[in-house]
Amino acid sequence: MTPIHLHIANKSYPAAGANPPHQAIANFSLRLQPGEFVCLVGPSGCGKTTLLNILAGLDSDYQGSIQASPAAHPPKIGYVFQNPRLLPWRTVQENLELAQPTPDLRAIDALLAAMQLSAFRHTYPERLSLGMSRRVAIIRAFAANPDLLLMDEPFVSLDAPTARQVRELLLSLWQQRPHNVLFVTHDLREAIALADRLVFTSAAPMQIVSEIPVTLPRNQRHLNEKIEVFRQHLLTEHASIKNLL
């Protein structure tokens, strides 16, 4: 694991049809410490997914740099997209093996067991529920053994109990295998439950408004009332973030 420093000086989209040119990100600098879980919280359409796509190497049309120090090469990425993006014609196990640089069945066995999916290793994704598919997508990101794990609202469109279950499984997995995580969400309660640090961003062009460490002990993160108290405390202490939610 290495610290990762990213600086996006400018990311703009040119005019397209009736849409004028649009600056998505401006002067955005963030440093991720090894094994740190960072949640990016900001208004809808502010450029969070654009930032993740830049980090994942899916968008190279920007001004700035991404560095995994001390290595010179760009960081290896695991990306949990908003929809699971599993290959429907490959089984769960095959989907996981493909994400690994060299196939490692023992690692896959352990990850499947941690996410309670061992019984579904030979199942095709179309036969899984949405919650299970999202768990497979999370496993895939871990299976790639990345330097940086990106998560773009991975629990969106899940019902509350399923989202909570998957969140707890994710947290347990991350605590066993700590990676640098950049997690995008709209949900402040979810962010408090997961993060070491919250990064609040403005509307487009996206900039950092505030960075707040989550001081709530990890052994209390499963308690809704503790999360709610911490949330209220944040909203009282940092009035500026109210408008971003």
């Binding site: 994942a56 190497g57 990306y79 290959l87 493909l98 095709y124 895939r140």
Partner: protein, 260 residues
């Protein structure tokens, strides 16, 4: 015994469904027989007479020899046209500049009559086997390219991004992401291709070869031997149906097993 009525109804419905294609075939044969009896002309021999010719030609070894020659040409031209067409189709479907450059060539090739290509190939390269195969490939290639290009244009961008993100590389992306999505288009090009190729091969053989189905059909046309013409045609249709049932359908089913 109490379950007999339920069993009987299901059994009869299933049986009727299975018998339907056979009933359809028998109706066609009956219609043909009736028409042949009505016309009473050598221009439309009855089915049993065609069956006799079919048996005679098979026994003499003539039909297997000529059918084999045509099938070899079909396999050769298909084996060249499909991989080339798939590669070119993927290139044009994924690369807008290449597509813009080659699109007019493609439209032109699609509109050149098969007969013209065959004649030109024979004139330029002589009445040789390679010219015959080349002519068939040139006729088939544009159709494969157009079909595969359509498939390559609608590849799932999300999955391609995922593959890029997880560093699949070109080989893994082609095998596990692109090919399964192109598979229905490849099957479509294969089916249409086989049907088209064998028809073109007949013309190629008719114009410039000394064996094959086309050569034999030409011979029997000169003799006005309709029974032999029909016998050879039926033999080839049967072979094509066997290819469909024994090769193409199982391949398609195997590739679709992941669907719910």
């Amino acid at each position: 015994m109490a379950s007999l009525p339920k069993f009987s109804v299901t059994y009869i419905v299933n049986l009727l469904q299975k018998l339907l294609p056979i009933a359809s075939l028998l109706t066609l044969l009956g219609f043909w027989q009736g028409l042949a009896l009505l016309l009473d002309s050598s221009n439309l021999p009855p089915p049993y007479q065609v069956a006799q010719v079919l048996w005679r030609e098979t026994e003499s070894g003539q039909l297997p020899y000529h059918l084999g020659a045509t099938l070899l040409r079909l396999v050769a031209s298909f084996s060249i046209a499909m991989p080339l067409g798939c590669a070119a189709g993927i290139l044009l479907g994924r690369n807008a500049k290449a597509d813009a450059f080659f699109n007019h060539w493609l439209v032109m090739l699609l509109n050149v009559p098969a007969l013209v290509t065959i004649i030109l190939c024979y004139v330029w390269f002589g009445l040789v086997e390679s010219a015959a195969i080349f002519a068939v490939v040139v006729n088939k290639l544009p159709n494969v390219i157009v079909t595969i290009r359509e498939g390559a244009r609608v590849l799932d961008k999300d999955l391609l991004e995922m593959a890029h993100c997880y560093q699949f590389g070109a080989r893994k992306t082609l095998i596990h992401v692109i090919w399964p999505q192109l598979y229905p288009f490849v099957m479509s090009a294969t089916r249409a291709g086989l049907a088209l190729i064998w028809k073109i091969i007949l013309i190629v053989e008719l114009l410039g070869r000394s064996n094959g189905m086309g050569y034999q059909l030409h011979l029997y046309f000169q003799l006005f031997d309709v029974a032999s013409i029909l016998a050879y045609t039926i033999a080839f249709i049967v072979v094509m149906q066997l290819i469909e049932q024994l090769i193409l359908k199982p391949l398609e089913q195997a590739a679709q097993q992941w669907r719910r």
